[in-house]
């Protein structure tokens, strides 16, 4: 952002007032820094409403989806013990790793695109850190009161009331954290069985451990660490600036309108006093979950939650000034005074077009691959013991080991045929019954009549076809060995 030198024409720059670390009564030595404890003030408004909507949507999905049944099983289950991922109607195997990779790439590119267009939308509304901090803060407010009451409570001596409030708060936090840990583990081990085990205090050692681990992480991150996670622990916060440009929507303080800031009466005429629209009430600082002053310009600590917009708009309403002293805007819009239409028009620019092109390619490729995915996998391994042997009638026999994987949730019967050599046939059982979402490995013997092979290694094909007419079919290459003619 272009800085105006003090004394130069235009609005004077508000001086930054550095606060020495360790100053003030609210200072505590936290994990990452000497930290001024932040007591965010509750805020209401349009963006707070959106954040709560996102809290509800994400958490109804997170806590609820684990309980959703699908074909007599859990709809979404990452069964690590069996190495199968169930996602609604589809079963993914380790061989389907590519889909997971594509999904992660899609998420990453979407994040880049959203960030380029509208800044840290993810951080401000949907990141679990934000969402759980919001919920934990809500609990804290319900029990201890809003900002003023909490500051007073913390500063006061330990009384029975303070102990009771703290105890109630931490109990509520721990209960929610435990439920979160339980739900998390419920995505990896069937949640209904896990629930029964928890009720009977009979969970396995690893399940117990991971419930506690995830629960403790939730409690620590949302209850204690809060903004420190975003400021010091999150790698994304550090590189999100790389996706920003002059047309990215960010939360910005309109310096030209706000400065010079200063307190004034409600009826006072700011023009007559030589003041801008900012009444210097510091509401924007008090509501900020990361404790920054947005009036100092865009900072990496800003998670884009827009709490300061809601806070400032309320003050502007009270003062009878137009809203939007702090608003979503772009650097270009603030300098060139673009209107909303101008901002929207600039959403389409080379950077976003490149992100959209990559995103579309990956999504289309992923969906196409998923549609064309054959839910049957066959591996042919030559039997290492016997290379080739001559059996009755002078026929040559090769033994293979077939690994068949039925990736559908229906038990199926498959027929195995071979081709590639004249007279080649399956001498063992050519029909295999496969369990639902199961694998089977079995030996299979192929024979060829004498005189129909040239000798040496020859390419043959295994065809595995479903017998139920579903059209599921896999063709797999193998080699058939037979003695060279001159050796006969």
């Amino acid at each position: 952002m272009a800085e105006t030198k003090p004394g130069a024409q235009g609005a004077p720059v508000s001086p930054l007032r550095p606060v020495p670390a360790g100053a003030g009564p609210e200072t505590e030595q936290a994990l990452f820094e000497v930290r001024r404890k932040i007591y965010p003030r509750a805020v209401h408004g349009w963006f707070a409403g959106w954040r709560w909507a996102l809290v509800w949507i994400t958490q109804v999905i997170f806590y609820g989806l684990a309980w959703l049944p699908w074909n007599d099983r859990q709809a979404v289950l990452f069964d690590l013990a069996a190495r199968k991922f169930y996602i609604f109607g589809i079963v993914f195997w380790p061989q389907d790793f590519i889909y997971l990779t594509l999904l992660l790439v899609t998420c990453a590119i979407s994040l880049f695109l959203f960030t380029a267009v509208a800044g840290r939308l993810w951080c401000g509304y949907a990141c679990p850190q934000t969402v759980y901090t919001e919920i934990f803060l809500w609990i804290e407010r319900r029990i201890e009161g809003d900002r003023g009451a909490r500051t007073k409570l913390d500063a006061g001596p330990l009384t029975a009331r303070k102990f009771g409030l703290k105890f109630a708060k931490h109990s509520a936090w721990v209960a929610l954290a435990f439920w979160t840990g339980f739900t998390f583990v419920g995505y990896f081990t069937p949640i209904r069985e896990l629930g029964a085990e928890v009720l009977g205090l009979a969970t396995g050692p690893w399940e117990t451990f991971w419930i506690c681990f995830y629960g403790f992480a939730t409690y620590g991150n949302a209850g204690w660490m809060r903004e420190q996670v975003c400021k010091y622990m999150c790698p994304y916060a550090r590189f999100q600036g790389a996706m920003f440009d002059r047309d990215t929507l960010v939360i910005a303080y309109d310096r030209s309108r706000g400065e010079p800031r200063g307190a004034r009466g409600k009826k006072a005429d700011p023009a007559a006093l030589g003041l801008g629209a900012c009444v210097d009430c510091e509401i924007c600082v008090q509501v900020c979950p990361t404790g920054i002053d947005i009036r100092n310009g865009l900072q990496y600590e800003c998670i884009g939650c827009a709490a300061c917009i809601d806070g400032c708009d309320q003050v502007m309403d009270k003062m009878g000034y137009p809203r939007g002293l702090i608003r979503y805007s772009t650097e270009n819009a603030l300098e060139g005074h673009l209107d909303v239409g101008g901002i929207v028009k600039r959403f389409v620019r080379p950077r976003t077009l490149v992100y959209i092109a990559i995103l579309t390619t990956v999504v289309v490729a992923g969906i196409t691959a998923l549609m064309l995915r054959v839910p049957l996998k066959v591996d042919v391994i030559r039997d290492r013991g016997a290379i080739v042997r001559e059996v009755e009638n002078g026929e040559f026999e090769n033994v293979y080991r077939l690994q068949v994987m039925n990736a559908t949730e229906i038990p199926r019967r498959y027929r195995i045929t071979v081709d590639g050599l004249q007279g080649l046939y399956v001498a063992s059982d050519a029909v295999v019954d496969m369990p639902a979402a199961g694998t089977r490995a079995f030996p299979i013997r192929l024979r060829v009549p004498p005189g129909s092979v040239a000798g040496g290694s020859q390419k043959i094909w295994f065809n595995v076809t479903a017998e139920d007419g579903s059209g599921i079919h896999v063709r797999e290459k193998a080699a058939f060995l037979s003695p060279k003619k001159e050796q006969n």
Binding site: L31, L80, A81, R83, P94, F97, L100, W206, W210
Partner: protein, 100 residues
């Protein structure tokens, strides 16, 4: 300072361990792994969990070395000043009178 160092060591290692766990166990099945020529007898869940902590420990070792090697000569050398007379901001400074 010590808690900060511990956080600097454990946290990046945790992130890397998560990524390693995901990639490694997507590609390799624990039940097909061998330890000193013997198949691993433990359950998959046990191996995943132990694997995670092994990755975390390895990542921590790397972060520890980074922290250890990036110390300035002033932090490594013995300081000629008594601890209370060290300049402000020095990690080895102690408040006057606190530790004689």
């Amino acid at each position: 300072m010590l808690t900060q160092r511990v956080a600097w060591i454990l946290w990046p290692a945790f992130l890397v361990a998560c990524a390693m766990e995901f990639v490694f166990f997507s590609l390799f099945d624990p039940t097909e792994m061998h330890l000193f020529g013997e198949p691993l007898e433990a359950s998959r869940m046990a191996i995943y969990s132990v694997g995670f902590f092994v990755f975390w420990a390895m990542g921590s070792a790397s972060s520890f070395l980074t922290c250890f090697l990036q110390r300035s000569p002033w932090e490594v050398n013995r300081c000629p000043l008594p601890s209370a007379e060290r300049p402000e901001g020095c990690p080895k400074r102690e408040e006057p009178g606190c530790c004689n």
